[in-house]
Symmetry: C2
């Protein structure tokens, strides 16, 4: 590009692409349940646009557990990138079997590889499966239930690691400075629209490599009908 004084950086381009895609997605009548649905607002202002993503049920795995499910030497293969750099939806799908012997098929593994195996479900899923899900931040598996997981090459029963993820907002230092909050603080997320909801207790999670992104689950995304939101606001 000639000149270069007004070149867009990678994240600006990403934000623009995302906004166009979101508008397209909003016109889609039946979004598949296991895809990540995204709504973007530019009202959040600098340093990054306010992005709210609905996390559908998913799983993280260790290499050892991946190999139990998919066979020795298996690596996660990428289906698509997620919003945070380096995070991706893999092509690998598993089936969950709960204590009531009910089954949820086609649960996607999100990469990259973790040093723990974790299953993130909504309360609707938990009631269906017969699991009393604890509300947890990723990685905190104290007093969490287990589950049986089926892959094409094997089954695995974990004794803990099934959670409902506590709603949270990923922030860089710039984002925390902008909103005047620190890691571990709670904020409110106000969604206006036909099913308007204000979510209290959106936990701030700092990481040096992330940019502003709120994660809510499908119960929360459906409660506020995120796709019909007319305005979104993050409030200290």
């Amino acid at each position: 590009m000639a000149g270069g004084s007004t070149t867009l950086n990678r994240r600006d381009v990403e934000a623009l692409v995302r906004e166009v895609l979101t508008q397209k997605l909003r016109g889609q009548i039946n979004p598949p349940p296991s895809s990540e649905r995204s709504v973007v607002s530019t009202l959040g202002g600098p340093p990054h646009p306010l992005v709210v993503n609905v996390s559908a049920r998913h799983m993280h795995v260790t290499q050892a557990d991946l190999e139990t499910l998919f066979g020795a030497g298996t690596k996660l293969t990428k289906l698509k990138d997620l919003y945070q750099e380096g995070e991706f939806a893999s092509e690998q799908l598993v089936t969950l079997v709960g204590p009531r012997q009910r089954v949820i098929p086609s649960v996607r593994i999100l990469g990259p590889m973790r040093n723990y195996t974790q299953v993130e479900l909504s309360y609707t899923d938990g009631i269906y499966l017969g699991l009393d899900l604890p509300l947890r931040i990723s990685g905190n598996h104290e007093n969490t239930p287990g589950i049986t997981i089926l892959g094409p090459k094997g089954a695995l029963t974990i004794n803990s690691g099934v959670i409902r993820a506590e709603r949270h907002v990923h922030m860089s230092t710039e984002d925390m400075n902008y909103y005047g909050v620190k890691d571990g603080d709670y904020m409110k997320l106000k969604i206006d629209g036909p099913c308007g909801v204000t979510f209290d207790r959106v936990k701030v999670r700092y990481h040096p490599k992330v940019i502003l992104e709120v994660h809510i689950d499908t119960d929360e995304g459906n409660a506020c009908d995120l796709e019909t939101a007319t305005k979104m606001e993050l409030i200290k």
Copy 2:
């Protein structure tokens, strides 16, 4: 009862019984998904306690449609009374079949008989079945999708009548006077707790025979984890 100057009326007794039952229900680990779960607060003050009920997916039927599904001459039989006088959960269950040929079994019919057939689902259900559910107040079937319903004696395809019920609060004249609202107004419902949420746009629905009761659906009840609520408040 002797004297009678301080006799409890039927509704006072009901409210007390309900409160005890609610405390029992809160201790229940895995409430069955198709039952109506109830949380009661006495903080709403007179004239009636603030009751918030989660409506699980359910159906209302006309006598003709009931007979198609369950056979000629069938009457709804009562399983249990609901909060509003005369309303009840019937023993009759149907299976729903959506456009993706996916099935939701054990959907309960709520009585008494209606002069329209209506299916009330959550957005989670709608996405699963492949239906783009419109947000509607009960009975408004303009531009609503249909569905196939299976009963033990027959199948029925309705061309409209499948909705997500708009969150609402039933009120008597006394309740409306107390809160300073009128039929059709919107209020806010604030739920405090680990998954605290404030629901905007809770529609006031007046009927001379009802008492104060908020109805939210399972997505909304799970988003705020109603069973762990520490305080509930209805705000003008």
